[in-house]
Amino acid sequence: MDLQGDHYSGNCCILAIIIKALDKCIKIEILMIKPQRRGHYYAWIILALLLPAGIVFAWLAISNAEPVKWIKSSNSDLLPLIKSSSRKKEYCVSLRTDKNYTQWQLEWENITPLTVPTAVIYRMPSRNALHYGRQGNRNEGGGPGSTKIEDGILVGRIEARGIYVFPINLDYSGNQELNLILYDFIHQQIVDTINLAL
């Protein structure tokens, strides 16, 4: 019943060689399946140790950063005043407010489809200016101007297409800068940074 490597020819000869090699490597006699039963048993003993350990380690390793939950974009009307705006090739980001500067909205419009479908927007600790690289590492920085996602506040999650409006809390006092990061949470990398002057 076993495959004989010689029975194969042409394109199958590599397969036959592999099977022959495997056949030699496996010392279990087919007529003696007691070792196989033992193999299954030991495999599950190992899994009984590894699985709980893996699950616990994975649970404990969850980072302290704010979880990436689906934050719905607001259905309310757009606020009338655009305080600041940043337009790029792929998207246009605007900070909207009312005439008393009491309510704020972040409007995100995808001009072209985003190439990162798992994008979320984080608001980072403010500083006067930020110059992040496009492939910035999440572990860089710390404190004001930090690029550590753990330091950021999740504003919302966006998809590849569409216009999104998120309510945002701002204590407006002028001469400030709203620092935003577009973050790909699957690939764990910063996609872009947006700085909006207030």
């Binding site: 007529l31 990162v116 798992t118 764990q188």
Partner: protein, 349 residues
């Protein structure tokens, strides 16, 4: 067992079983979509597809892995084992849908090859908090792929049962990779303890079932038979053997099935040539010992499959003295004819 290649050896039972699988998958996916739309109206079609297929695949994987030990603990589950392959291929199809669409969704939009992007887009391999979990799922999918394409008997025969069995043992590694893929993936993003509890409960149930079945099998294998006379080992009394059924005894290194058929006792090797099924747990149908796993058949007096099939197993000498069954554990070559022990004649020996 067929002498010619047939993609699927359909019979009524398989058709009913496949319709049940299809119905279950359809109901599960419908409920998942409905609940997702109710509780998360913003969910996109892509996310819905990725999540529904993955959760169903993980559920089916648990069912598949539970069937083996359940059958060893309770024979009523044997019909599930007979059809486990179709369930496995269904699970792989769902996993492929999840994996394929995830790669398309998350890696196809850049100018990097999607499969390269899968491994280099997140290189935090030294970090548990940001571990690139997608790679784990990818490797599990590769194992499932190899298992699915070799699931046909064609590959079982051509790879040889030992290579085939060894390849399919990798399902345990795949299971570990899948659970870690889930734990480092969706659990890290959703952080819902309920998901962790479900995953943990599934793993505990599977481990417990397999260990229980393993302990039962090991106890059976280690049973001692001390009464030996002239190379024959006392195994049981005739009354313990039900007609057309067998009792299994582990003598030395392997198991032997002792069948009672009509007025004779026969002994053959317990391991089916197809996938190592326990012949002694089957019964004699139409004069043939029928494997409970996939229905392979052997004649009790010579261990050969009825023509035109060619499978053969070893036969053993057995005799009956004063209603006591004695078995010689020395095997005869596969397919060797043995007359069996007549209950009426040997009884007076």
């Amino acid at each position: 067992m067929s002498t010619s290649y047939v993609a699927v050896g359909w019979n009524r039972q398989k058709k009913i079983y496949d319709w049940l699988i299809f119905g279950f998958c359809f109901v599960y996916l419908s409920i998942f979509v409905l609940l997702s739309l109710i509780f998360n109206g913003e969910i996109t079609f892509e996310t819905l597809l990725i999540r529904s297929s993955s959760t169903l695949a993980v559920l089916l994987l648990h069912v598949i892995l539970a069937i083996g030990p359940l059958c060893r603990l309770n024979k009523n589950f044997l019909p599930l084992l007979y059809n486990r392959r179709h369930l496995g291929v269904t699970m792989f199809s769902l996993a492929l849908l999840h994996g394929g669409f995830s790669i398309f969704q998350f890696h196809s939009l850049s100018n990097t090859n999607p499969f390269v992007s899968l491994f280099i887009s997140n290189t935090n391999y030294d970090s548990l908090a940001a571990f690139p979990f997608q790679a784990l799922g990818f490797f599990a999918l590769v194992i499932f792929f190899l298992m699915a394409i070799t699931s046909h008997d064609f590959w079982l025969h051509n790879l040889s049962p030992k290579v085939w069995k060894t390849l399919h043992m990798f399902v345990y590694l795949a299971y570990f990779l899948v659970l870690m893929h889930v734990m480092f993936g969706v659990i890290h993003y959703e952080r819902n303890p309920v998901f962790v509890i479900i995953i943990f409960a599934g793993a505990v149930i599977l481990v417990a079932l397999h260990l229980l079945a393993g302990i039962k099998e090991r106890r059976f294998d280690n049973r001692k038979f001390n009464l030996i006379k002239g190379g024959f080992v006392y195994v049981c009394s005739v009354d313990e053997l039900e007609n057309s059924r067998a009792k299994i005894f582990c003598l030395g290194k392997e198991r032997i099935a002792v069948f009672r058929h009509e007025s004779k006792i026969y002994a053959i090797h317990n391991v089916c040539k197809h996938q190592g099924g326990p012949l002694g747990e089957g019964k004699i149908i139409d004069g043939c010992i029928t494997c409970p796993w996939h229905g392979y058949q052997y004649l009790p007096h010579n261990g050969q499959s009825p023509p035109p099939f060619k499978e053969k197993v070893s036969t053993y000498d057995v005799k009956v003295i004063n209603d006591v069954v004695w078995l010689n554990p020395k095997p005869y070559p596969e397919g060797m004819e043995r007359s069996g022990a007549s209950l009426t004649i040997d009884n007076h020996e």
